[in-house]
Amino acid sequence: MTAPVVATGLGAIGPWGADLASLLAALAAGRPLATPIEHDGGDASRLAGLVPDVDLSAWLPAASARRLGRPSRFAVAAARMALEQAGLSSLEGRRVAVVLATSFGAVLFTEKLVRQILLEGPESAQPFYFSECVANAAAAQVALSLGARGVNVTVTQREAGPLVALARGAAEIGEGRADVAIVGAADEMTPLLHGVLDRFGATARPTPERDEAPRPFDAHRNGVLAGEGATAVVLERESDAAARGVPFRVRIAACAGAFDPGATPSDWGSGDAPLARGLSRALERSGRGFDAIDRVVSGGSGSRRGDRLEARVLIRALSGAPSPPVLVPKAVTGEYGGGHLAAAFLAAAGAPFGAVSALSRAEPGLGIVVHDGSPLAPPRAVLATALAAGGAGAWAVLERA
């Protein structure tokens, strides 16, 4: 039997900075948090959702930060931010799990290490780069920072990873193996990675008519805003959170996953049927139908194929029922780095989402109408959705506790 699980703290670092107020303001404003990214010339896409030069010293001493890769820094700071909101100043005596997702890991250190090996020879490889370039470096550094000795898992399921991590963390709490779980995501964007995504046509690019911007579900979308950052969510048993009187409580009502075997390794497929079954399973497990979902926090990112598939999955799962308002936080936060996960919890807590300024008109036939920014009643429940390049899909139903 599983116990009800709630989120009691949220920490997020991204192109909005290192505080939730800035993220909330950005989601309300609906403008992409895009800044120029350094390139060695000739690329179509010039913008990325980069973390600005923010002061993390309140969460992570500078001396410690120097020994960490950027994803680890973001993750440790986000975890400490989330614990502060949860009112957990001490984890003493608690079994603490850490479950983080990453799409690409510590890319910069990987690039540096490979360059050293290939250009200067294997003997030049620096141990520091090696130990920090493993995919689980961020999760391990969070555990080291917090003394977290429960399960420590790193999930790598591309865009679906953060919701897969949420499901895993919720299971650790609900099934009684941990008292506190830090779940979330951490990623970084480098010029090289951005350039590769650009060459794949994955990133948004300017056209003669329009600026470079992510336009989820829009007729003129042509790619994502590649972002970076970290999000951490503190999960606890609802009974523990209630006993502590924590004000921020969002219940993880259900999670589910599915796979589209028709997808290619680096792209989305068109298998909406199995993915819609996964979505419906999440609703069934939450004991709700679509009529009880007040927002869909979609993973729509501006990807041509990804958004089309997501729309088809939603439409199929809706089976003719009217769609709840569809939020598109990746139009603001960008793809990667956990902005979508943070936005899902904020949406469940009732945060207002503004109209997305870059959108002009929905793609005909998709059947998805993106939320226009008009005021919405406080939500009973939200559905967070994420479809990954490669075929995986994950869903979570969140509700105010």
Partner: protein, 408 residues
């Protein structure tokens, strides 16, 4: 979360019905088992890249020339994974697995192919480097490839927790099956040799210049290997309903974190101890029922000592007589896929009532204090349960407990 068996219909018994492996001993679980029983390491000069540029030129390479046909453009990590999964499905009598979930591990994905991208980038410039090579690096690649090949539509979850990835992926499958998320799962892991990991472990001076010698006094480090291991896991009810023959029971799992050091284990094996204890508790298996341990046993001075201390703490006086082996002594350390291949070896050992040996050379380290299986296979009088452990960078520890099928 609601939905956890309100009607009491979930089946808590999870059985292994198929095994697949690709290792330096060849393409197949039988090749693995025969090689392990021979007890001679498949660790030799590196051919995959210029090994002579590295401080240590040895590794345990999969014989690529024996690869089955198909998917020639896919990264080797994916090909290992798919081959192992197909073998496991064949043994399980599955022609397809559309309802399955896939729980997979990998620590570096297709880094070998990505290094070709970097090489081209550095030598010929970005415009001439093929970005498709970098796609291979995706850590979700092997698990996705398995799901795609099997036509799986259930959840797919990739774990990349360094050297514990494979064990944790199998653990994730066990949880999902018990929860009723799926009735059938393909669980395993895959990794391939690459310069990054070989140079990286060498930079830590963690690679032995000779084939590794776990738990021996003169051990100097690990030997790196590559390959994949896959288990078909299903509820006993599901297996019986389709007439599948269980090979073993996956009885329990647990994972912990040392929270001690990024690359060194806790000196007393604190987290490893906790993982084994928790896995035994999860399995409902008494420590006295354990008949052998397939240890992480890398051959690094720190790991083996910490792990031995953990085992002595778990098994007490019995640790001196409990057979312990390390698969890494023969096929190297498969990094993210070590836990999966060692799970295959553990299941085969239970099913065949035999513990594979490590090579006999090298005197045991007296500080280890374990009964090492050296030189020749050990026939077991009793084979009721076994433990497989894996410990990783970042202090991530994992343990699996398997029971013999007679307990089903």
């Amino acid at each position: 979360m609601p939905g956890a068996d309100p009607k009491g219909t979930l089946d808590p018994t999870i059985v292994v019905t198929g095994l697949g492996a690709v290792t330096a001993f060849g393409w197949g679980a039988n090749a693995l088992w025969e090689g392990l029983l021979r007890g001679r390491p498949a660790i030799s000069a590196i051919t995959r890249f210029d090994g002579k540029r590295h401080r240590t030129p040895l590794a345990a390479e999969v014989p690529l020339h024996e690869a089955p046909q198909g998917a020639r453009r896919a990264p080797w990590t994916d090909r290992f994974a798919v081959a192992a999964a197909r073998e496991a499905m064949r043994q399980a009598g599955l022609s397809e697995a559309s309802a399955a979930g896939v729980y997979f591990g990998s620590s570096t994905g297709g880094m070998l192919e990505s290094e070709a991208f970097y090489e081209s980038l550095l030598r010929r410039g970005r415009r001439r480097a093929r970005p498709s090579l970098l796609v291979a690096q995706q850590l979700n690649g092997p698990g996705d490839a398995v799901a795609r090949d099997a036509g799986a539509t259930g959840p797919v979850e990739t774990v990349s927790s360094a050297c514990s990835s494979g064990s944790m992926a199998i653990g994730a499958a066990l949880r999902a099956l018990r929860r009723g998320d799926v009735d059938l799962a393909l669980a395993g892991a895959s990794d391939s040799l690459c310069q990054l990991t070989h140079a990286g472990f060498n930079s830590l001076r963690a690679v032995d210049e000779r084939p590794c010698r776990p738990f021996r006094k003169d051990r100097l480090g690990l030997s790196i290997g590559e390959g994949a291991g896959v288990l078909v896991l299903e509820t006993l009810t599901h297996a019986r309903a389709r007439g599948a023959r269980p090979i073993a029971i996956l009885a329990g799992e647990a994972a912990t974190c040392d929270a001690h050091h990024m690359t060194a284990p806790h000196p007393e094996g604190r987290g490893a101890f906790e993982a084994i204890e928790a896995a035994l508790a999860d399995a409902g298996v008494d420590r006295d029922e354990i008949d052998f341990v397939n240890a992480h046993g890398t051959g690094t001075p720190l790991n083996d000592l910490a792990e031995a201390r953990a085992m002595r703490r778990v098994f007490g006086a019995r640790a001196a007589s409990l057979p312990v082996t390390s698969t890494k002594a023969l096929i190297g350390h498969l990094l993210g896929s070590a836990g999966a291949v060692e799970a295959v070896a553990t299941v085969l050992g239970l099913a065949r009532r035999e513990v594979h040996p490590m090579p006999a050379d090298g005197a045991p380290d007296e500080e280890i204090g374990l009964r090492l299986v050296l030189g020749a296979p050990l026939r077991l009088v009793r084979a009721s349960a076994a433990v497989s452990t894996n410990l990783a960078f970042g202090g991530a520890n994992a343990a699996l407990v398997f029971r013999s099928v007679e307990a089903a």
